[in-house]
Homo-oligomer: 286 residues x 2
């Protein structure tokens, strides 16, 4: 299925929303792309990512046949829950999002969108920009990336097909799972590992050897802590929004970590090799 | 100071020892390089990393003017402490090592080498091969890398100069610090982060979502866990050898992690942003 949209509204034109806009334009998938973002819209327009700025959500979605929510997750949730005029949405339009968490997004769409909730299908592209802001946008960000799609109980088949076609047309491969499964999985493979990387960075930065560490760290620390340089504000929102699964992932991590630390403290080489080997085995299977 | 060695003995011809051998030969820094390694020597010879195989330590160091200990740290320590014939070492020879920990290596050299202990200077090149074994050796591994050098109280000036010239000639930049400072620093920036990466990998691999995680992990997890695929056996030795500083780094990490986890559990956004920001600030300063 090839797809082409008329007016597209991108709500939140930071690195990810800007990349959606850029990809749509680069591939000729939209007649026009308007952006709404109280902070980043002008920079996105200046960078040629969007064609026009919408001053508010009403103007953005008016006449749009694709609405992409790409603000921080708490903002996306607020828009889905609290916008009073979702009824004005074109009944054939598709609404999707790019948030890193899905259960609360889906719940907000079901609760807040009224009759047009059937046109909402949640999406999570597994592709991160290195930095924040529209300047970090890349038209090819989704090429070869996985996009997890979580239909709601009320998503209609046409909206699901259009959403699938949207991401496929941008070069991504689509996988479908429930929002609950998504959130458990991404707590393990993304959200909690981010918390760990922040903690590793903070512990070194707060310690007496912070300056030496900056001079002498190697590739191991560079990679292990890389996502610890992500925007704290954004990640606070994600971690809080996915609190339950993240705390479950934390508990599983602490079990493995406790075992390693105890073996070190006990000087128990066999136990330590066994505990480390579990990690080595999974990691080398990637 | 330019430098050229006659016979060089590389004890342990895995990825790191093999890279030392390859770098010496590629840059014409040695007349000959012999290797001793009960497991890897033949593969190192076949790969052209060394010129000959020495069946034992005695044959390896006989007539050598450079001896590089590149076995796992526990083996290097055993050789320094327990080899009964260090007195046969040429009195002008330099002995160094490439272990990731330094205090116990230095102590073993001082205790075990007798009169020739003045010819030992400890080294730690901050450069890791991606895989284990001589096949992962690279002649350019040390180009642009830092090498931490830890003279002992008894290292003589000539040995220090020759060791400095050795690493400089392979393209590395040398920094000098005490073995104790080195071990505290590398517990923070390398040893404990390895333990964390092993634990992250193990927790996911032991969980019910291990297969999904393998399909859908992104760049964040790939980087955060990369060193969790390191050889468990080798890293057990490093973590145990540097036990005290590693446990201290673990305690500092747990403070930062506890703060983040508590803020998530409490739903305290301000506290969470503050805790994550400490990590973001240090990491983005790199």
């Amino acid at each position: 299925m090839t797809i082409r949209f008329g007016k597209v509204a991108v709500i939140g034109t930071g690195a990810l929303g800007g990349s959606v806009a850029a990809a749509l334009r680069a591939r000729g998938l939209a007649a026009s792309v308007c952006g709404h973002d109280p902070v980043n819209a002008q920079a996105a327009l200046d960078a040629g990512l969007i064609d026009s700025i919408a001053p508010g959500l009403s103007q953005a979605i008016e006449g749009a046949d694709l609405v992409v929510l790409a603000a921080p997750v708490a903002v996306n949730i607020a828009l889905l829950s609290e916008y009073s005029n979702w009824a004005s949405l074109d009944s054939q339009a598709l609404v999707t999002d790019v948030s890193s968490t899905k259960s609360s997004v889906v719940a907000s769409a079901l609760a807040g969108m009224g009759a047009v909730r059937s046109r909402f299908v949640a999406s999570h592209p597994i592709a991160g920009a290195d930095r924040a802001g529209p300047g970090a946008s890349r038209a090819n960000l989704f090429e070869g990336a996985a996009v997890i799609v979580c239909p709601t109980d009320d998503s209609d088949a046409d909206a699901c097909e259009r959403n699938h076609a949207l991401w496929s047309a941008m070069g991504a491969r689509v996988a479908i799972m429930s929002a609950q499964h998504h959130d458990r999985l991404f707590a393990e493979v993304s959200h909690w590992p981010h918390a760990v990387a922040f903690a590793l960075s903070a512990a070194i930065g707060n310690g007496p050897l912070a300056d030496d560490a900056r001079r002498f760290y190697g590739a191991g620390l560079r990679d292990t802590t890389r996502v610890g340089g992500s925007p704290a504000d954004l990640w606070a929102g994600i971690l809080l929004d996915n609190r339950g699964p993240t705390l479950a992932a934390a508990a599983a991590f602490r079990q493995s970590l406790d075992r390693i630390e105890k073996a070190i403290a006990d000087g128990d080489r066999d136990a330590l090799v066994a505990a480390l080997s579990e990690g080595e085995r999974w990691r080398t299977s990637l």
